[in-house]
Amino acid sequence: MKTFLHRVIRLSILAGSGLAPVVFPADRPEFQLEIHNHLFQPSEITVPANTRIRLLVTNSDPTPEEFESYELNREKVIMGSRAGVIFVGPLAPGEYPFFGEFHPKTAQGRLIAR
């Protein structure tokens, strides 16, 4: 059972990592956000609607933050002085608020899909 489970996990990771770049090419349009003093910069970002984008969130603070959005269904921890990649969309045209879960009072932003 144990070895079987191991094999399944290893195979699926291999298959996943091997196939992912082939099936889903990485040429997503990239957009960047920065977290600085627990604020998002820019706090408003416009992206194309109905397109899958690659959001690069750089955390310039020394403390960790969690990018979170109920509307976008996204959640990711970004450690201090690190950057994180989050794939978003395709989105219907509209406004999608996001926030830093660890500092929600200040870290607020909106993604506008047009």
């Binding site: 489970l5 990771i13 990592s17 992912a20 899958r52 109920y70 509307e71 989105l91 500092h103």
Partner: protein, 264 residues
């Protein structure tokens, strides 16, 4: 600050607490010893500390989506373990020999993995305040309150479960586990969508006007049955497919036992 800490910790603790209360409730109903909980809590804490300490490295895996893939992998393993557990519980009822030790190990591993996944985030959150003592104190108080609420909700569910009449306590325990497992399957799919390993689609419906995900009901339903206001077709498929698969396993095992008993 205090409220933020309470909400963050509660969200994470709730999911693990519900799983622990269902499994420990079933342990009681099945007449199993409950010492596995101690081991599971210890292993889960160790797991959360390890993952929290190495999250920098983990995040870098697979071109920056290691966090998503690792978390999804853990969800899938918990899903499979819950499936194995449900099957073993039903077979055991039919006097098929299932070693108690195997059953306890499966439960302990499930809880340890769930705690690792939920706990690391709390630790990362707290780690952001270690350089600021007054804030750290507030965060710790929030952590205690959040954990307290989460554990109380878990305890409530536990007593509801163990006070039901047989076989209803077993049936509802297994039913709840199937719902939890379905939620895990759809969450794993969501994480792989976020990592760009699965194709993304527009949501198939939006129930956020009825039950918002950030409302108390929404949070509770999310922790319990993996509620999602705007799921995509893949997520909904994984939820329904994952749930039906476990339901089928449970029904086939139960019917097999009945027909065998009929032949005797």
């Amino acid at each position: 600050m205090l409220l933020t800490a309470v909400v963050i910790v509660l969200r994470e603790v709730l999911e693990a607490a519900l799983l622990i209360s269902i499994l420990s409730g079933l342990s009681g109903v099945l007449g199993l010893r409950r010492h596995w909980i101690g081991w599971a809590l210890a292993a889960g804490t160790a797991g959360a500390v390890t993952l929290g300490a190495s999250i920098d490295t983990v995040s870098g895996w697979f071109d920056g989506v290691g966090q998503e893939v690792t978390s999804a992998g853990m969800q899938v393993v918990i899903y499979l373990l819950l499936g194995v557990f449900i099957l073993m519980v039903i077979l055991r009822r039919q006097r098929t020999v299932v070693r108690d030790r195997t059953l306890l190990t499966v439960m302990a591993t499930t809880v340890a993995l769930a705690m690792t996944r939920e706990g690391f985030e709390v630790l990362v959150y707290i780690s952001g305040f270690v350089m600021n003592l007054p804030q750290l104190m507030t965060v710790m108080v929030g952590t205690l309150i959040g954990s307290g609420i989460g554990i109380s909700v878990g305890a409530l569910l536990y007593y509801l479960l163990v006070n039901l009449r047989q076989p209803w306590s077993q049936v509802s325990g297994i039913g709840l586990l199937i719902l939890v497992a379905s939620g895990l399957a759809s969450q794993a799919a969501l994480l792989l969508i976020q990592a760009d390993w699965l194709p993304s689609q527009l949501p198939i419906w939006d129930t956020s006007a009825v039950i918002a995900e950030d409302s108390v009901t929404g949070q509770l339903l999310y922790a319990m049955i993996g509620y999602e206001a705007t799921p995509t077709a893949i997520q909904a498929g994984c939820y329904i497919g994952g749930g039906l698969l476990l339901l089928a396993v449970a029904l086939v095992a139960a019917l097999r036992g009945r027909s065998r008993r009929g032949n005797e």
